[in-house]
Amino acid sequence: MRLPPFQSLVDVHAAELHRFLVASVGPTEAEDCLQETLLSALRAYPRLRDASHLRAWLYTIAQHKATDAVRRNVRHRAEDLDGINPGHLSEPPHEAADEELWTRVRALPAKQRAAVIHRFVFDLAYKEIGLRSGTTEEAARQNVATGLRRLRMEVDR
C-alpha cells in the first residue's frame, strides 16, 4: 500500500482542518487542536491500512481533539454563556450575537457540532458530510437536523 509522505497531508489539508477547528473550538484553541490532531495522526500513520480515506481519517481525529478541548473548557464555556449580554459589549450587536451563536454551536454534542460545521461553514452536501465524518448520508442529515433544532431552541429562548 502506498501511503503518501505525511508532509503532503499537512500541505493539502492543514488549512482546511484549521478552519474546521476554528469553527469547532474557537480561534484561540484551534491552533493547539490542529497540532494535537496532526501529531496523533502522525503517530498512527504507519499503521494505517487504508490510504483511500485520508481526509476523512484526519477529520475524525480533529473531531475527537475538538471534543476533548470543548470538555476541557466546559466550565469556561458555561461562564461565557452566562456573561454574554450584547447590550454591554462594545462590538456591533450582530457580532456579539454571532459570537453567542458560535459558543452554542461549540457546546453541541460532538457529532452534531461537526455535522453543522460541515454543512454550513463548508457548505457540504450530506453525502460528503457522511464521508468526512465516517458515517452515512442519512446519519449526517440527522445530525444536522438535530443540531439545528437544538440551536433554534436555545437561540430563540
Partner: protein
C-alpha cells in the same frame, strides 16, 4: 434558508492560518516525540537545488533537481517510513558539510549514513565507493571486486547510477577502466564539475 442557517454560513472571524509556522511547530513536536522518522530540507548548491533528507540514523538521501520532489518524498515514504516531514533545521549538519565541500574547505564528509534505501549488491558497491578519497578515482570493476564480484562491473555501474546519496557517497569518483568519465545519475555535466572541483579530472 432560515435566518439561523444564514448566520451559521458566516463562520466566526479568525486569524489567518500560517501554514509555515504550523509545519515548523509540528516538526519540532514530532522530533521531541520521536516521530519524525524522515526530515528533509533543501540546499542551494553550484549544482542546483538539492533535497537533503535525514533520519535519526543519519543521512539517507540527496536528490538533484532533475528528480521531482514529489517522487523523492514518495520514495522515502515507501522505502524508509511514511512519517516524512519538512524540517530543514534537522538537516543542518549535512547541509553545512555540503556547503564546506562546495566551498573547497571540506575534503572528507563526517556524516553518519543511513543505508535504508540501498539493497543487495549495491550495499557492498556503495560502501566501497564511500571509501574512495577526495581527489581520487577508481573503476567500476574495482568497486565490483570490493563488493565481492570482480566481473560485475556493469552491475556496479547500475548500482552507482541509482546511488541515493550522491556527492557524500562519491559515485562521481568511479570511472570506466576504458577511459572517459562514464555516466552519472545526476548527469555527466555534474560529474565533470565534481571531478574538476576535486582536481581529479582523469586524463
Amino acid at each position: 434558508m432560515t435566518e439561523l442557517e444564514r448566520r451559521l454560513a458566516r463562520p466566526p472571524a479568525s486569524a489567518p492560518f500560517d501554514a509555515r509556522a504550523a509545519t515548523t511547530v509540528l516538526a519540532q513536536r514530532a522530533t521531541e516525540a520521536g516521530l519524525a522518522d524522515v526530515a528533509y530540507g533543501w540546499l542551494d548548491s553550484p549544482l542546483g537545488k538539492l533535497i537533503v533528507a535525514v533520519t535519526p540514523r543519519g543521512l539517507v538521501r540527496i536528490a538533484y533537481e532533475r528528480e521531482a520532489e514529489e517522487d523523492v518524498l514518495q520514495e522515502l515514504a515507501e522505502g524508509v517510513s511514511p512519517r516524512v516531514l519538512r524540517a530543514p533545521e534537522r538537516t543542518d549538519s549535512a547541509r553545512r558539510e555540503l556547503e564546506g565541500y562546495f566551498a573547497g574547505t571540506l575534503r572528507r564528509f563526517d556524516l553518519p549514513i543511513d543505508w535504508s534505501l540501498v539493497h543487495g549488491f549495491a550495499v557492498g558497491v556503495l560502501k566501497a565507493t564511500a571509501r574512495v578519497p577526495f581527489g581520487h578515482v577508481a573503476t567500476y570493476g574495482e568497486m565490483a571486486a570490493s563488493a565481492g564480484s570482480p566481473r560485475a562491473a556493469r552491475a556496479a555501474g547500475n548500482a552507482l547510477h541509482i546511488n541515493p546519496i550522491p556527492i557524500v557517497v562519491p559515485c562521481h569518483r568511479i570511472v570506466p577502466a576504458s577511459g572517459g568519465i562514464g555516466g552519472y545519475g545526476g548527469g555527466e555535466d555534474r560529474k565533470r564539475f565534481l571531478l574538476d572541483l576535486e582536481g581529479a579530472f582523469p586524463a
